[in-house]
Symmetry: C2
Subunit: 265 residues, 2 copies
């Protein structure tokens, strides 16, 4: 079972869009997927056509130990179950502050889930607070969606520092397995420069012993494509909305790369 958190504290870089569409393709190929929405804005939940206002059992109740993961999961597609978010989730960060083992609530909940599952994907909010820490405490792998813009680069070193801390204090298994460029526009020189900067940065770090030494910069670039921004307004994944567009091809190719990775399973 691969447990992957999609993390980047920079807002609007494609975390939710990548989590949903990658999961959809893997599920289409027969993988059993659990999606976990840890964003108080509940975009993953909305994306799949579920109104967050109607949720009775959510990631909020699982983090506060009122529900088991199994009881709170909602089947949303063939092979996909969702742990939905609700707006109260923002309150969970404050409520968890003084609780023992506050960062490992989600990990405990996933461990107690006894059914067969191939992938657990966790969509994170744009911050490095307790909700994201719970995702990092539960995950075995991190994938970083990144926009090839200067401001998106800024937060990368802070993100890596946080990952090191989590690895040394909360979750020794955690490793950064991939980075994927989203909303990519290959016509601009800016995107080419940023890709080069990133590849050089990580290549220099290969010899060091840190949780991102084996990071894979995915060859697949998710190109900017308005269909990817349209599909959530119909509560549909890109494959349900428009199978013949860049967005669908790019996430299909990304799913190929993800499956081809040999993990330590």
């Amino acid at each position: 079972m691969r447990i992957i958190a999609f993390v980047n504290q920079k807002g609007g870089v494609g975390k939710t869009t990548t989590t949903v569409n990658l999961a959809a393709k893997l599920a289409e190929r027969g993988g059993k997927v659990i999606l976990i929405d840890l964003d108080p804005q509940a975009h993953l939940t909305t994306f799949l056509g579920i109104p967050p206002g109607n949720i009775k059992r959510s990631s909020y109740s699982v983090l506060l130990r009122e529900e088991s993961l199994e009881a709170a999961l909602i089947p949303v597609r063939d092979n996909i179950k969702l742990l939905a978010s609700e707006l109260n989730l923002a309150a969970a960060e404050q409520e968890l502050v003084s609780v023992m083992g506050r960062e490992t609530r989600l990990r405990d909940a996933i461990r107690q889930y006894s059914h067969k599952c191939d992938y657990v994907f966790i969509d994170c909010p744009p911050s490095l607070g307790l909700l994201t820490l719970n995702a990092l405490g539960a995950a075995r792998e991190v994938i970083i969606p990144l926009q090839a813009h200067f401001l998106s680069l800024q937060g990368l070193s802070q993100l890596l520092e946080t990952l090191l801390l989590v690895q040394s204090r909360i979750n020794p298994e955690l490793k950064v397995s991939g980075l994927v460029f989203c909303m990519f526009d290959s016509r601009t020189t800016l995107s080419g420069e940023i890709v080069r900067d990133i590849e050089e940065f990580f290549n220099r770090q290969r010899e060091q012993d840190n949780c991102w030494r084996d990071i894979r910069i995915f060859q697949t670039r998710i190109r900017r494509n308005v269909k990817l921004a349209e599909s959530p307004s119909y509560g549909r994944t890109i494959f349900e909305y428009e199978r013949n567009c860049h967005g669908a091809w790019d996430y299909n190719a990304l799913a190929d790369e993800l499956e081809a990775m040999v993990t330590g399973e």
Copy 2:
């Protein structure tokens, strides 16, 4: 003095880019501007070419009352002073949780500042936590940068609810004065539909007594333009980087609209 918070908990919609470039144009025209960076990612600070790591006095120290606003301001351009952010700012949210009057720390600091100033602009993080609440407690006006995408629409009602709460409990003067579409791509039908939805939504609310009844949907659309994404990598505003591009023209037009608004001053 106009105190304006640029708020939207949806990530990556153009808050920082709008705060900086609008301020730059108003300052060019002779307005005295104070910029306040309330985002722990310190993107406003980085955008202006200031490395957040070197900051001694920041919005963190002002919120925790260790410094006055006057002592912490850094002159960054003609007519522009910056209250920088530092990475510790994320810790301020946790430290302020149990403090009396935690939402009005920034308001108090601005009130004690006695020098002449035409605009105070506050850049907010992508969340509705204590840092954004401090901005809303201090501001008289809110401008909402919005991307014409479905997922960006989702958070709008939650944002308006939060603004109502702030107005009734912390800051009765607060009003939503404007909404500006950023990263706008008029070629897609999606953007036209979203603009229509937004205009209809707010036109229906004109009769009600709430803090957004007089909202102005700015006619200026900030079009998607790679120059706006390139300029921060040089620590420059769009007017310093490339005066002859859509980005510079659009922010110039937005400054015109902002100045033309008759406020309750």
